[in-house]
Amino acid sequence: MLFALKLLQQTVRTLNSEGTPTQVAAGLALGSALGLTPLMNLHNLAVLALIMVTNVSVPGAMLGWALAVPVGFALDPLFDLIGRRLLLETPALIPLWTALYNLPVAPLTNFNNTVVLGSIVAWLLFALPMFFAARWAVVRYRASLYPRLARTRIFQVITASKLYNAYRLFRPE
């Protein structure tokens, strides 16, 4: 177990060599897709590949994922509503869905499920605002909050722990 954790820490550290606010924000925006949309779907494999291959913050993506999971559960009724509106109640889009549904691979993404489609559309709509908001927040955090936090006792305890190894990945360079 310890070995696995160490390996994970090492992998994360290796992959996340540059933790600029833009990278962290991009990671958060991409990672939120994993949490907002139902996980076991083909599009999330593509998102995961993007997180790994593009130079975004992997811990940022993991954080985005973790934060988005409860939001995803809470917003499922809304996603269902959006998906229903798009798939069933917009006649102009039906030819598009019909064509997609009868293409190879496309049906394997489950785009024809109301919750899947609704959550993907919601994520696409919020990804950019989320990216800019996160980047602004990280910059503000590193400029004003981090120096004060660093002086607190609890923070010093945490930095001495293993947990801090993971936290370091968010630390300003």
Binding site: T20, L48, A49, M52, T54, N55, F73, N102, N112
Partner: protein, 617 residues
């Protein structure tokens, strides 16, 4: 800043390769689970697969030991398939479509026992809905009861009261309506009382007679004549009002008379009600067959209706988007929408399947069959041809028999046309329980015919069984009951033992049993009719045994009802007649008075006009 993290490509590739290997390793398990889940969703009972193996190289799918539980009898399998070997097209799999060119089914057995229950804790909403629909139909269907128990020569009509009779209620309503209408009409007539007007008219006529028109001058004569003409106009208006009232009275009386015409129908209904209170059996043969075998007919029809509804649900005509519940997961399932498209593959298609099937003994269609199925698809409109299932009986060895089954589900376009034809001779027919006779009849080998046609929402057809050399047995409860006395005709009339013994004696001498169940009506809830020689024979025996007594008691029941209902019905008729005569006379009198006064006044005006030296406009 570099956009691509090249050093992650290798781990990513490793992840993807691992995912592919895992997919490959667990593909067969995933197929098993998919078949079990989809099957349970469709059938509404457990579907179990021992093993499945997909060979992508050969494009073949092999399924071992598929068991489909019977949703009606969870400890029995609807079908158990030893092995299915299917040739599957690979490219459509990328479109999430399963196209099976051929399937060979070996070791198909129907009605086999299960080791554990096939009932689902949470059946799919679709199967629940369809099951609820069929159960609702069965519960709404009124199977007449043949209850001889309670029949007695001492007729207890104490529960029959005037308040419980429809005739009395209707008669009371009619009488009260007649009274209130007559009162309202009287008030209207009082408001239209023309006496004051007639008195004024008389006075005016006297003035016209006595007036010296020359002395009155042109102005005075003109005023007098104008007054007289106004009076004529007012008389006409009053007469018109009375005429309108007369029409209202007429239509009100018509309505009352119309309602009174339903009194005999209400009386018939009261006879039936009174009969039901005293357990008088109906002795008409068509009534006895449904009473004896109605429950059995419903029980046999329920699964047929369920499967027809299921076929309609899962083989829908047309190319409209189709909705289904999404996959079960931690997140909300949502709705999955399928978008069929012309000239593409349907989601599922079995072009041809062949099976060597065995239906376990004990059922109506038990035996060995060679079966083929063609064109089974989730989108019949795309396939363009009906689904056909045909099976030919191959005999059971010990009992040479013949028969054929043909099911055609034509859902290519609306309206859907389904037909089920089965004709089997020499098959083992199931026994029939006849609680009314406290008996059970083992039909043994016989003939079975099923002929159902569904077009759109209409369903029509029949099921029939015929067996010779049947064996009758006392049911356990009947044997346990003290029927020794009843067998010697000593059981008191009206007791359960007497009733069972009577029907037992009538039926147990029969050597042949014929049952025909006719179905007609809405596909979701057709009406049924049952005909059987059992019903005819039971009716004949009953008529012979107790026919005279039943007729006599029926007369007494009718007399009791008449005694209670007649005074009220007569009173209602009297009130209506009284209202008609009284109000009619009043109206006619008013009309006559007004008409006479108007005619007199007009005559006086003419006479006066003639007496004038000059013409006054």
């Amino acid at each position: 800043m570099r956009l691509v993290r090249w050093k992650a490509v290798l781990p990513l590739s490793a992840v993807l390769v691992t995912a592919a290997v895992l997919w490959w390793m667990f593909l067969d398990t995933a197929i098993e689970r998919a078949i079990e889940t989809a099957g349970a969703e469709i059938v509404g009972a457990r579907v179990d697969v021992a093993a499945a193996h997909l060979s992508l190289r050969r494009g073949s799918l092999r399924i071992e030991h598929l068991e489909v539980a019977n949703p009606d009898r969870p400890m029995t399998n609807l079908v158990e398939l030893g092995e299915i070997v299917a040739q599957v097209r690979l490219l459509p799999l990328l479109e999430k479509k399963l196209i099976v060119d051929t399937a060979v089914i070996r070791g198909a057995r129907f009605g086999t026992p299960r080791r554990y229950s096939g009932a689902l804790a949470h059946p799919s909403p679709t199967s629940q809905r369809l099951r609820g629909m069929v159960a609702g139909w069965a519960s709404r269907l009124r199977v007449p009861a043949l209850s001889l128990e309670g029949f007695s020569t001492v007729l207890d009509l104490s529960r029959l009261s005037a308040d419980s009779l429809r005739t009395v209620t209707l008669a009371r309503t009619l009488a009260s309506q007649g009274d209130s209408l007559a009162k309202a009409w009287r008030e209207d007539l009082d408001r239209l009382d023309p006496r004051a007007e007639l008195d004024s008219t008389q006075a005016l006529m006297r003035r016209l007679e006595q007036a010296d028109l020359k002395a009155l001058g042109v102005g005075g004569a003109r005023d007098l004549l104008a007054q007289a003409r106004n009076r004529v106009r007012r008389l006409r208006e009053t007469r018109d009002s009375v005429n309108r009232l007369a029409s209202r009275v007429q239509s009100g009386l018509d309505r009352l008379r119309q309602s009174a015409e339903s009194l005999p129908a209400a009386r018939e209904s009261d006879y039936r009600y009174a009969r039901s209170l005293v357990h008088l059996p109906s002795l008409d043969a068509p009534d006895l067959s449904p009473a004896l075998l109605g429950d059995l007919a419903v029980e046999r029809l329920e699964p047929i209706l369920y499967w027809l509804a299921l076929a309609e649900q899962y083989l829908p005509p047309g190319l409209d988007p189709r909705r289904a519940a999404g996959p079960k997961r931690l997140r909300a399932s949502g709705t999955t929408v399928r978008f069929p498209k012309a000239r593409t593959y349907p989601d599922f298609l079995l072009s041809y399947g062949g099976a060597d099937a065995v239906v376990e003994a004990g059922g109506a269609v038990s035996g060995r069959y060679a079966a083929t199925i063609t064109g089974l698809t989730s989108a019949p409109s795309l396939y363009g041809r009906p689904t056909r299932l045909s099976a030919t009986r191959a005999g059971t060895g010990a009992t040479p028999a013949s028969g054929s089954v043909l099911v055609v589900l034509d859902h290519v376009r609306q309206p859907v046309r389904d037909s089920v034809k089965a004709m089997l001779d020499g098959v083992s027919l199931p026994g029939l329980a006849l609680p009314v006779a406290g008996a059970r009849v083992e039909l043994g080998q016989g003939f079975f015919r099923l002929d159902l046609v569904r077009q759109g929402d209409r369903l029509e057809g029949s099921l029939a069984w015929r067996a010779s050399g049947v064996k009758w047995h006392r049911a356990d409860s009947a044997q346990a009951a003290p029927v020794a006395g009843a067998a010697r005709g000593l059981a008191p009339l009206g007791t359960a033992a007497w009733a069972r013994e009577l029907v037992w004696r009538a039926l147990s001498r029969l050597d042949t049993v014929e049952v025909e169940v006719r179905v007609a009506g809405r596909a979701g809830g057709p009406g049924i009719g049952v005909r059987s020689n059992l019903g005819r024979e039971a009716a004949r025996a009953l008529r012979q045994e107790i026919g005279g007594e039943v007729d006599r008691q029926e007369r007494r029941v009718r007399e009791a009802v008449d005694r209670l209902a007649r005074p009220y019905a007569e009173q209602a008729q009297r009130r209506i007649a009284a209202a008609e005569s009284e109000i009619g006379a009043m109206v006619r009198e008013r009309q006559a008075e007004l008409e006479a006064a108007r005619a007199d006044l007009e005559r006086k005006i003419q006479e006066a006009t003639r007496r004038l030296p000059v013409r006054i406009p």
